[in-house]
C-alpha cells in the first residue's frame, strides 16, 4: 500500500554508480518575469545525480526565484524545466513526491515537538508508522539530540533547528533536496557541521541543490553556478573556475565576475 | 489601509439605513370568522397604517401554530363570530391578537400598535358624536428627536466605536507587532527617546482618527440630517480628547501584551464588546442588571457618547458635560501614567 511506489523502487541507495551521469534536473531557457522585472533571464543548466550543486549569487540575483520554480512553488513565465524526470508544468505533483525542500524562512512548526513535526511530515509523505519510528530513532541518535525528542522546536537553538529542518526535508528519501540559504545566521563551526550532514545525504545518493551567498561554502560543492542580475555568468567546478579567473578562492572569482559586469 | 476609511462610511450607512427598530410592513395573518363591515373596516385600517401587510388569510380549522412555526407571519388577528352584532348590541366585542413572541420586542410593539389602531377606529368611527365625561388628553412632545429616528441614536455610538477601533486597537496591534518582530528593540537602541518613538507611532493614527471623526460627522449631518445644535469647535475638541484617551489606552495595551495575538484578544474583549454593549450605544444602560451598570462606568465610550449626544442633539455646552469631560481627562492621565510605568519596568 505504498502510495508512492516510484519513490522507493528507485531508492538512491539501490542504484549503481553507472547511473551517476543521469540528469535529475534539466533547465532550458527558463524565464521568470514579475511585471517588467526579469528575475530569471534564460537560464540553462543540468544537475546530475548525486552531486552537490551550488547556486551562488548576491541577494536579489534571482537564486531563490529559480529554486522556487524548480520546487513547484512558483510557475515559470516560459522555458522547459524537468525535475526528477518530470515536467514541472504538467507533473508538478509527481515532482513534489521526489523532492525535499528547506526554505530560508524556518519551516518546522515551532509549537510542535521534534517527534510531532517528524510524525506530521512523515504522515503527509505516507511513511508507515513503524518505518517512521525506526528512522526517527536513527536520526535523533545521529544528531545526538535524543533527549530533546519532546522539546518544542521553538525552544531549540537555531543551529539545531537548521539541522532538524534539513533532516526532515530528506526524511522521505527524496531524489533531490533543495536548500535555500540553509546556514544563514549561524557561526562557522555550526555551518561546518551542517555541511557534514549535506555530505552524508549526498553519500546516500541524494542530489543536493543549494543556494548560498557564503563563498567559502561554494568550495564544498561539486559544481557551482554564479548568478548575477538574473543570468548565469559562470558554471563549473570550483577548481576550474578558480583556474579560469586566476583566483585564489571563490570569493575572488565572484568579485571578478561582478566587476566584469560593471 | 483602505478599509480604515471605508469602515466608518459603510458602518454608518449600514446603521443609518438598515439597522432600525421601527416597525413597518410586518406580515400578519387574519382569521375573520365574522366577515362583516366592521371587521373589514378594521382590517383595512390595520393594513393602511403602513405597519402591517396582509400575509395570509386563515380559515376556520387552519392551524395557527403551523403559520408561526414556518415563520411566515408575526401576528394573527382573530375576529370571533358575530363581531359587529356583539359590538352594536352589547357595546363590546373582542378581538384576539396572537403574537409570535419568540421576538418579544417586536411582539410587544405589534400588539400595542394594533390595539392602538383598533382603539382609534372605535374613537373615530363609533364614538364620534358621543360626548364622554371627564376626558384627560395627554399632549406629548418628543424633544431633541421629533421624528424618533434611530440614526440620531446611532451616529454618536458609531463615532465612539470607530474611534476606539482605529485609535486603541490599531495602535496596540501595530506597537505589539513591532515588539514581536523585534524592530522595537532596534528603535529603542537608537538615540531616539522612548517618548519620541511612541509619538512617532501614534501621530498617524491620531490624524487618521481625526479624519474619521470628521467624516462620520459630515455623513451624519448631510446624509442623515442629524443636527449639530451645539458648537462645532467644542464637538471637535471633545472628539480630540476622546481620541487621545483611546490612543493612550492602545499604548497601555501594547505595553501589557507580549504579541499581536494577545493584543487583538484584549482589544476585542476589552474594547469592542463593551463599546458596543455597555456604552449605551444600542441598548439603554438603565435597563441592564446592576453589575453591568456598575461596569459601564469604567467604559470610556459611555461618557463620550453622552457628551456627543449633548452637543449634537441637545445643543448644550460645557456646563452640562463638565463631569463627563473630567472623567475622560482622568482616564487619559491614568492610561498614560500606567503605560510609562510599564515601559520603565520593561527597560530595566
Amino acid at each position: 500500500m505504498n502510495p508512492y511506489p516510484d519513490l522507493h523502487q528507485n531508492s538512491p541507495l539501490l542504484e549503481g554508480l553507472g547511473e551517476a551521469n543521469q540528469k535529475v534536473i534539466e533547465v532550458r531557457d527558463l524565464v521568470k518575469k514579475f511585471g517588467n522585472f526579469v528575475a530569471n533571464d534564460h537560464l540553462n543548466f543540468d544537475v546530475y545525480k548525486g552531486e552537490i550543486f551550488g547556486f551562488l549569487g548576491a541577494n536579489g540575483a534571482g537564486k531563490t526565484t529559480a529554486m522556487k520554480i524548480l520546487c513547484g512553488l512558483s510557475a515559470p513565465t516560459s522555458g522547459k524545466v524537468k525535475v526528477a524526470g518530470f515536467d514541472i508544468y504538467k507533473e508538478t505533483e509527481k515532482v513534489k513526491r521526489n523532492i525535499g525542500y528547506m526554505s530560508q524562512k524556518f519551516s518546522l512548526y515551532e509549537d510542535l515537538t521534534i517527534a510531532e513535526n517528524i510524525r506530521f511530515y512523515s504522515g503527509i509523505y505516507g511513511i508507515k508508522p513503524a518505518e517512521r519510528k525506526e528512522k526517527m530513532e536513527k536520526l535523533l541518535k545521529n544528531l545526538d539530540i535524543e533527549s530533546a525528542r519532546d522539546s518544542l522546536i521553538g525552544s531549540l537553538p537555531l543551529g539545531w533547528k537548521q539541522k532538524l529542518a534539513f533532516s526532515v526535508a530528506i526524511f522521505h528519501d527524496p531524489k533531490i533536496v533543495f536548500l535555500d540559504e540553509p546556514t544563514g545566521g549561524v557561526d562557522p563551526i555550526t555551518r561546518r557541521k551542517f555541511w557534514d550532514l549535506i555530505y552524508e545525504a549526498s553519500d546516500r545518493g541524494i542530489t543536493v541543490f543549494v543556494t548560498t551567498h557564503y563563498m567559502d561554502e561554494a568550495e564544498y560543492c561539486n559544481r557551482v553556478s554564479i548568478m548575477n542580475e538574473g543570468r548565469i555568468e559562470a558554471l563549473d567546478t570550483p577548481e576550474n573556475l578558480k583556474q579560469k579567473y586566476g583566483a585564489k578562492n571563490m570569493d575572488e572569482v565572484f568579485l571578478k565576475i561582478a566587476r566584469n559586469k560593471e | 489601509m483602505m478599509i480604515i476609511f471605508l469602515l466608518p462610511v459603510v458602518q454608518l450607512l449600514l446603521f443609518g439605513k438598515v439597522i432600525n427598530t421601527d416597525i413597518q410592513n410586518s406580515r400578519i395573518a387574519i382569521l375573520d370568522l365574522s366577515h362583516d363591515n366592521t371587521t373589514r373596516e378594521i382590517i383595512a385600517k390595520l393594513v393602511s397604517s403602513g405597519y402591517f401587510v396582509l400575509g395570509e388569510e386563515l380559515h376556520p380549522g387552519d392551524d395557527v401554530e403551523d403559520v408561526f412555526r414556518q415563520g411566515k407571519v408575526k401576528m394573527v388577528v382573530t375576529f370571533g363570530p358575530e363581531f359587529e352584532q356583539n359590538l352594536e348590541r352589547d357595546g363590546k366585542a373582542n378581538v384576539q391578537l396572537l403574537a409570535d413572541a419568540s421576538d418579544p420586542n417586536t411582539a410587544r410593539i405589534l400588539t400595542s400598535y394594533a390595539s392602538g389602531i383598533i382603539n382609534d377606529y372605535v374613537k373615530k368611527e363609533k364614538l364620534q358624536n358621543i360626548q364622554l365625561p371627564n376626558q384627560i388628553n395627554t399632549e406629548v412632545r418628543m424633544l431633541y428627536n421629533e421624528g424618533l429616528k434611530s440614526v440620531y441614536m446611532f451616529v454618536p455610538g458609531i463615532m465612539a466605536m470607530i474611534l476606539m477601533l482605529i485609535s486603541a486597537m490599531m495602535t496596540s496591534i501595530s506597537i505589539s507587532k513591532e515588539k514581536e518582530l523585534g524592530t522595537m528593540e532596534v528603535l529603542l537602541a537608537s538615540p531616539l527617546k522612548p517618548i519620541q518613538i511612541v509619538l512617532g507611532k501614534v501621530t498617524p493614527y491620531l490624524l487618521l482618527s481625526f479624519i474619521n471623526a470628521l467624516t462620520i460627522i459630515l455623513i451624519g449631518v448631510f446624509f442623515f440630517g442629524v443636527p449639530i445644535r451645539g458648537s462645532f469647535v467644542f464637538l471637535m475638541s471633545e472628539s480630540f480628547l476622546f481620541i487621545l484617551m483611546a490612543l493612550s489606552l492602545g499604548i497601555l495595551i501594547s505595553t501589557v501584551a507580549p504579541n499581536q495575538m494577545v493584543a487583538m484578544f484584549i482589544s476585542v474583549l476589552a474594547l469592542m464588546l463593551p463599546t458596543i454593549l455597555l456604552s449605551g450605544f444600542m441598548f439603554p444602560i438603565e435597563n441592564m442588571p446592576l453589575p453591568l451598570r456598575i461596569l459601564s462606568h469604567a467604559m470610556p465610550p459611555r461618557w463620550f457618547i453622552v457628551i456627543i449626544k449633548n452637543i449634537m442633539l441637545k445643543g448644550t455646552g460645557i456646563l452640562f458635560v463638565w463631569k463627563e469631560t473630567l472623567i475622560l481627562i482622568f482616564m487619559t492621565v491614568v492610561f498614560i501614567g500606567l503605560s510609562i510605568k510599564n515601559f520603565k519596568i520593561r527597560l530595566e
Binding site: R119 | R69, L97, A101, Y121, I136
Partner: protein, 372 residues
C-alpha cells in the same frame, strides 16, 4: 484519508499548545452568554419622571401616586418650573417631564376635559415611544377610574368598546433573554469559526510553514479538510457549552430538536470556515485577517437581524440577506430552539445554507494555490 488524519492531529496539538486560543475558546462563550444576553435588552425597566404639578389638587396628586406605583416609573424630582425639568432632561438625569397645568382638576370636572403635557427625551426613539405608551396607558386607566369614582359606578365603559386581547406565543412572559440567547449562540459559532479558520492559514504563511507544505505531495483538499474538521469540533463544543449556560442561567426553554440544531450548525460551519479560509488565503498577515474578519462579522451580524428585526430593514437589505449566512442560521436557531420548528419548516434556510457553504468552500479551494 490518512493524510487528513495527520493534519487534524497537528491542528489539535497546536490549539492545545496555544494558551491564548484555549482561553478564547473557553472565555468567549461565557462572556458572550453572560454579558451580551444581559446587556442586549430593550426591556424598559425604569423611567425617571420630573414632575411639574402646578395644580396641586387631590386629582393631580392621585395621578402622581398612580405613576409612582407603576413598576416602570420613578418620580425623581419635582418643581413648579417646567424649565427646571428641561434642564434635568439636558443633564440626562430624567427621561421625561410631566406637566400638570394649573386648573387641571377644575377643567376636568367643569369642562369634562383637561390637558396634560409630557416632554420626552427622544434621542433613543424606541425607548421614548415605549416609555410614552406606558405612561399613556397608566393615564388612561387612571382616567377610567376617576370617571367611575365620580359617577359612582363600579366601572366605567364607553358605549362602544373593542377589547384587543393580546396573547404571546412561545414566550408568554416576553422574556427578552430567551430571544437573545439563541441569537448569541449563532454569533458565538460564527465568531469562533471565522477567527480560528481565518488565523490558521495566515499563521502558517507568517511562519513559512505553508511553503514547506506546498512542496509536499499533500492535496489541497486533504489539507483544507484536515484544517476544517478540528475547527468544526471546537465550534460545536462551544455551542454545547453556550447551550448549557443558557439552560442553567436563563432557563432557556429548548423546544425543538437538538439534533436539528447541531445538524444545521455543522452545515453552517462548513460555509463559515470556508469563508475564513478564503480570507486567510487572500490576506498576508494576522492583522489583515483581523480587520477583514471584523468587517464581515459586523455586516453579517448587524444585517442578520440579531439586534433589530429584519422586517424593519429596507427591501434591498432584505434581499441582500439571502446571501448572509448569519441571517439564515440565526433564523434556524431561533425557530428551532424557541418554536420547535421541524426540518420541513426550514427547507428554505437549508437550501440557502447549502448554496452559501458550497460557494465559500469552492472559493477557498480555488483561491488556495500550491503554486504561485
Amino acid at each position: 484519508m490518512k493524510t487528513i488524519f495527520y493534519v487534524i492531529q497537528k491542528e489539535f496539538i497546536q490549539v492545545k499548545r496555544n494558551k491564548t486560543m484555549l482561553r478564547m475558546i473557553i472565555m468567549i462563550p461565557m462572556m458572550q452568554m453572560l454579558i451580551l444576553v444581559f446587556a442586549a435588552t430593550y426591556d424598559l425597566k425604569n423611567v425617571d419622571i420630573f414632575l411639574v404639578d402646578k395644580d396641586l389638587s387631590s386629582t393631580s396628586r392621585e395621578l402622581a401616586s398612580k405613576l409612582e406605583a407603576s413598576p416602570f416609573f420613578t418620580i425623581n424630582n419635582s418643581s413648579f418650573n417646567p424649565e427646571e425639568g428641561e434642564k434635568e432632561l439636558l443633564r440626562n438625569n430624567d427621561d421625561m417631564v410631566l406637566v400638570i397645568p394649573q386648573g387641571f382638576e377644575r377643567n376636568l370636572i367643569r369642562e369634562d376635559k383637561a390637558c396634560l403635557q409630557l416632554l420626552v427625551n427622544a434621542i433613543d426613539g424606541q425607548a421614548a415611544q415605549l416609555g410614552y405608551s406606558y405612561a399613556a396607558s397608566v393615564i388612561r386607566d387612571f382616567n377610567k377610574n376617576i370617571i367611575a369614582e365620580w359617577k359612582g359606578l363600579p366601572e366605567f365603559n364607553p358605549p362602544y368598546q373593542i377589547n384587543a386581547v393580546s396573547r404571546f406565543w412561545y414566550n408568554s412572559e416576553l422574556e427578552y433573554k430567551w430571544y437573545m440567547a439563541p441569537g448569541v449562540l449563532a454569533i458565538l459559532v460564527t465568531l469562533i469559526g471565522l477567527f480560528l479558520s481565518g488565523m490558521s492559514l495566515v499563521k502558517e504563511k507568517e511562519q513559512g510553514t505553508i511553503e514547506q507544505l506546498n512542496v509536499t505531495p499533500i492535496r489541497k483538499i486533504q489539507f483544507l479538510v484536515g484544517k476544517l474538521i478540528p475547527f468544526v469540533v471546537i465550534a460545536l463544543f462551544d455551542l454545547s457549552f453556550g447551550l448549557v449556560i443558557a439552560k442553567v442561567v436563563f432557563s432557556l426553554p429548548i423546544v425543538g430538536n437538538l439534533g436539528l440544531v447541531f445538524g444545521f450548525s455543522i452545515l453552517y460551519l462548513l460555509g463559515i470556515l470556508g469563508l475564513g479560509l478564503f480570507i486567510s488565503t487572500v490576506a498576508d498577515t494576522q492583522q489583515q485577517v483581523m480587520f477583514v474578519t471584523y468587517f464581515f462579522m459586523m455586516i453579517f451580524i448587524l444585517m442578520g437581524g440579531i439586534f433589530t428585526p429584519v422586517d424593519s430593514m429596507p427591501h434591498w437589505a432584505q434581499l441582500m440577506n439571502e446571501a448572509n449566512p448569519v441571517f439564515h442560521f440565526m433564523k434556524v436557531m431561533r425557530m428551532v430552539v424557541l418554536k420547535g420548528s421541524n426540518f420541513g419548516d426550514l427547507i428554505h434556510e437549508f437550501v440557502a445554507l447549502c448554496i452559501l457553504g458550497f460557494t465559500f468552500l469552492s472559493l477557498a479551494l480555488i483561491r488556495y494555490r500550491k503554486t504561485a
